[in-house]
């Protein structure tokens, strides 16, 4: 399989008055065609900034200071703003977290969809409209003609997210980045939307980078999972292996705090302590202060190293492969 | 880092405010200029070269001299003279006294009246509150200059009339601010507790509610002092403000207006500069005070 997205050594920093926030600090990540990759981390871990870095939409004062992002082999870091604009929506699309906020409240759905069609295709208004209708049908929106004439606030949250998904998939992009697209929805709708995105991407061979804080959601759809902590990827591997035999203590901690069928009957535990303040990251391994396995070695920065079978971990004291899932 | 902030918290609040205020160079510059202006206005009778309203000291032959001219009495008029032969520097410093006194005085009276009404409205609620706030809303929906003009049209000219007009247009801001702050504060548990203890109204109002309303009131007041000075100047410029016998900066500007067109700019220009510098200095200080006193605005 060829790589749709290849991120190498990405650093996206925010220069603030009180110091530099290294939101993303050396991330390597590959998403192959048709693959679903889950990017998991707590809020502030840099997972969303990674997604926005790919699209070239990091808000100032944030800025990509180093690294490479290749989309279908084309370098995006340092690409012209116009080139990035051409790629956004056509080759890569994004679905946002809160459907209440992603659609412009003062523009009708047809305006917002048709401008997306015509940003990348020279078509008549009539044809643009046809494409919008088709896209809405594809995401299962009933009476699409009527919906097109509506304003966003006239639609339910689930319906709005479907519209956003339809817009993202309009040009059948090879890569879709989904930034917690189900978090803000009702629980009953969540599973539905989750399933639909997965189906639609599978049908069109679209690679999906699914960003979430919720390991349970990601485990349901991802082929591979990368876990982020304090701007770095601390563990990466095939979903099944990573979820059943985590190597990094942080992944272990996340799993322990999520109810799972793998470990029925065990107590849920939270990770002690809090995520480190972004302006005062601990020296060495950022997880060290919260880690039961930390030693003096951890005062140095561990490298991300391969541990076999497509797995990598950034830890001096990884959990052994055969370790019991819960101590 | 954390050790520092603990220390900072141990300092007195006033000292912390001063320290934060001094952080802004423009605010410090504004404060220094303001102090100089206040001192100049306060000590005007002792530092001005002449008393501009003692006719015996004026010489009509010195009229309309440009800045830097020497007068018949040997006095140098650094900012020129007006048509009466009055030294503009002296006239400006005397005018500052009136402008500042009217501006600050009206703000102070409006602050007391407005705060009292706002506090009472918040505390007693009901019909009284409804009435006060209706009047506030109604009045604030019209521009201050219009309300002041109408009042002065009915009352006539005079320093006291201008004061009344300025107080009338300002009190509503304080009433609204204090009521808002008092409602927020009054909803807190300690006020509830004080009421349960059957403390007298007076004590709850003045010991508990009022001090908590002070920061927003101070912020409003600094903005309002500048506005009041500007409004007084405008009214006097229009000829409906202070009388000719007690000319403020606005009236000085109006007096020089006819000469402005013939190129004798200094009679209007320098009082205007004094007015503008005063207003800008107050605004610089006020802006910083607002940032310092309102923690929510800090980034």
């Amino acid at each position: 399989m060829t790589a749709v997205l290849e991120i190498r050594g990405l650093r996206t920093w925010f220069e603030t008055r009180r110091g530099t926030v290294k939101a993303v600090d050396g991330v390597d990540l590959t998403v192959r065609a048709g693959e679903v990759v889950g990017l998991v981390g707590e809020s502030g871990s840099g997972k969303s900034v990674t997604g926005f870095s790919v699209l070239g939409l990091v808000d100032p004062p944030g800025r990509i200071v180093e690294g490479s992002i290749r989309l279908l082999g084309e370098e995006l870091v340092g690409a012209s703003p116009d080139r990035l604009r051409q790629l956004r929506g056509a080759r890569m699309a994004m679905i946002f977290q809160d459907p209440m906020m992603t659609l412009n409240p003062v523009l009708r759905i047809d305006t917002q969809m048709m401008e997306a069609v015509r940003a990348h295709a020279v078509v008549s208004r009539r044809e643009a409209r046809e494409r919008c209708l088709e896209a809405l049908r594809r995401v299962g929106i009933p009476a699409p003609e009527e919906r097109l004439r509506a304003y966003p606030h006239q639609l339910s949250g689930g319906m709005r997210q479907r519209v956003a998904i339809a817009i993202a998939l309009l040009h059948r992009p090879p890569l879709v980045i989904a930034d917690e697209p189900t978090t803000a929805l009702d629980v009953t709708i969540q599973a539905q939307i989750l399933y639909e995105i997965q189906e639609l991407c599978a049908a069109s061979g679209t690679a999906l980078l699914w960003i979430s804080h919720d390991l349970a959601v990601v485990s349901a759809i991802a082929d591979r999972i990368a876990v982020m902590y304090a701007g770095r990827i601390v563990e990466e591997g095939p979903s099944e292996a990573l979820l059943t035999r985590p190597h990094h203590p942080y992944t272990q901690g996340l799993l322990d705090s999520v109810p799972s069928r793998h470990r029925r009957g065990t107590r849920l535990r939270s990770i002690p302590g809090n995520a480190p303040p972004p302006l005062a990251l601990p020296e060495g391994c950022a997880f060290r202060p919260r880690c039961a396995r930390a030693s003096r070695r951890c005062l140095r920065e561990p490298e991300l190293r391969a541990t076999g079978a497509g797995r990598r971990v950034r830890c001096f004291h990884p959990l052994p492969d055969a370790a019991p899932v819960s101590a | 880092m954390s050790g520092l902030s603990v220390e900072a918290r141990a300092e007195s609040p006033l000292r912390r405010l001063v320290a934060e205020f001094v952080d802004s160079p423009s605010a410090v510059a504004g404060a220094v200029v303001l102090v100089l202006i206040l001192a100049a206005a306060l000590f005007a009778p002792w530092i001005t070269p002449q008393n501009p309203y003692d006719l015996a000291q004026l010489d009509i032959l010195d009229g309309n001299l440009p800045p830097g001219s020497a007068g018949l009495s040997g006095l140098t008029y650094w900012l020129g003279t007006d048509d009466q032969g009055r030294d503009m520097l002296s006239a400006i410093l005397y005018g500052l006294r009136i402008s500042l006194a009217v501006g600050a005085g009206s703000t102070l009276i409006a602050l007391v009246v407005g705060s009292a009404l706002g506090l009472a409205a918040a505390y007693y609620g009901g019909r009284f509150e409804g009435l006060v706030m209706r009047i506030v809303d109604l009045q604030l929906s019209f521009p201050a200059i219009l309300v002041a003009l109408i009042l002065l049209a009915i009352l006539g000219r005079g320093v006291d009339k201008v004061l009344i007009a300025l107080v009338t247009v300002q009190w509503a801001y304080y009433a609204r601010t204090v009521r808002g702050a008092a409602l927020v504060e009054g909803a807190k548990e300690y006020v509830e507790a004080a009421r349960c203890l059957a403390l007298p109204d007076r004590r709850i109002l003045f010991r508990h509610l009022l001090p908590n309303c002070l920061p927003p009131v101070i912020v409003v007041a600094t903005v309002q002092v500048a506005n009041a000075i500007a409004l007084e100047a405008t009214l006097s410029f229009l000829g409906v403000g202070v009388p000719i016998t007690e000319p403020s900066l606005g009236l000085l500007i109006a007096n020089g207006y006819e000469y402005l067109l013939s190129g004798q700019y200094w009679i209007s220009f320098f009082p205007g500069v004094a007015l503008v510098v005063t207003i800008v200095a107050i605004n610089l200080v006020g802006d910083r005070l607002r940032d310092v006193l309102n923690p929510r605005l800090q980034r």
Binding site: P61, P81, P105, L107 | P143, A153, V240, F269
Partner: protein, 325 residues
């Protein structure tokens, strides 16, 4: 929508009535109305005659009825100075003031919105900060002083533009206007700019705040993620959201522009109703003052009403809530 309009119109009518009561109380009931309504030069017999004619010997409530009936017929007294009906005098001057106010609003919008958006988009760069500093100065310096400086610079020192007066006018739909002749335009420019400074500063502030708020919204990011051009993101997605609050506030400010024209008209000797008001106050010509007051109250209430309607048309959320509610 129609029901909504009718309801708002009725609210406006009630507001006018309330203001009429206040004006009546202010002018008729406080102090001796004869002082206000009759020339100070009148002798005793004339005053007695006037009292009867004005019905001042009757109960207050009846007097209010007479005042209201006269006002409804457009009779707000006669000017002592011009010996003309006060209302007609004011209405004659109204077009000049409206022309000035509309020109000032146009300048404020055309200058303020682009500058405000620029200041918002570049809030951390020197250009953005310079715009804000200018707007703070425009806000805090007295309007008449700004006018004097405009005259000093452009009329006295540079000699480019006239210092005052209205210049040549031509009739447009039966109303004399300045902006269609070059001479009139030259006379209009400085006072219009002077009157616009305050509102421009206000528009810059509002637009900048709106821009900074809107530019962080997800829908702006999503619009960019769709691959829209920066032009379309700013001019359609951002501008439309910014305009709603700005237009609302600006519309409400129209009344205050008309009121502030009092100062500008005096500085530039612009023959509008604001200058008439100041002249009337100085000449103790009180019927004109009363007429001005009633008219400006009407303008304020009318403006509020129109802004509400406009707001409803602009914001689909309000529009639909009203329709359904």
């Amino acid at each position: 929508m129609l029901a909504y309009l009718i309801r708002r119109a009725m609210q406006a009518a009630v507001a006018v009535l309330v203001m009429a009561v206040l004006v009546f109380l202010g002018v008729y009931a406080v102090g001796d109305p004869v002082d206000i309504l009759i020339s100070p030069e009148a002798d005793l017999a004339e005053i007695e005659e006037a009292r009867r004619r004005l019905g001042l010997d009757r109960p207050l409530i009846e007097q209010f009825g007479i005042f209201l009936a006269n006002a409804l017929r457009g009779d707000l007294g006669r000017s002592f100075v011009h010996n003309e009906p006060a209302l007609r005098l004011i209405l004659e001057r109204l077009p000049a003031t409206l022309e000035l106010a509309v020109a000032a609003m146009a300048i404020a919008i055309l200058l303020g919105i682009p500058l405000g958006m620029l200041a918002g988009l570049r809030h951390d760069r020197p250009s953005g900060k310079a715009i804000m500093a200018g707007s703070i100065l425009g806000f805090s310096l007295p309007n008449f002083w700004q006018g004097l400086m405009l005259i000093m610079l452009f009329a006295v020192i540079l000699g480019w533009l006239p210092a005052g007066g209205r210049g040549e006018t031509v009739p447009l739909f039966g109303v004399e206007v300045s902006f269609l002749t070059l001479n009139g335009l030259q006379h209009l420019l400085l006072p219009a700019v002077n009157l616009a400074i305050f509102k421009t500063a206000l528009v810059i502030r509002l637009t900048r705040a709106g821009t900074r708020e809107v530019m962080l919204q997800d829908y702006v990011k999503f619009a960019r993620a769709k691959g829209l051009s920066e032009r379309r993101v700013v001019l359609v997605h951002m501008l439309k959201n910014i305009l709603i609050p700005v237009v609302t506030v600006l519309g409400l400010e129209f009344g205050s522009v008309v009121a502030f024209a009092v100062v500008t008209e005096t500085v530039f000797a612009w023959p509008g109703m604001g200058k008439l008001l100041i002249d009337s106050i100085l000449n103790l010509d009180r019927p004109v003052v009363v007429a001005y007051l009633m008219l400006i109250v009407l303008v304020f209430i009318l403006v509020n009403f129109l802004v509400d309607v406009l707001y409803t048309l602009l914001d689909p959320r309000v529009r639909l809530a009203e329709r359904h509610g």
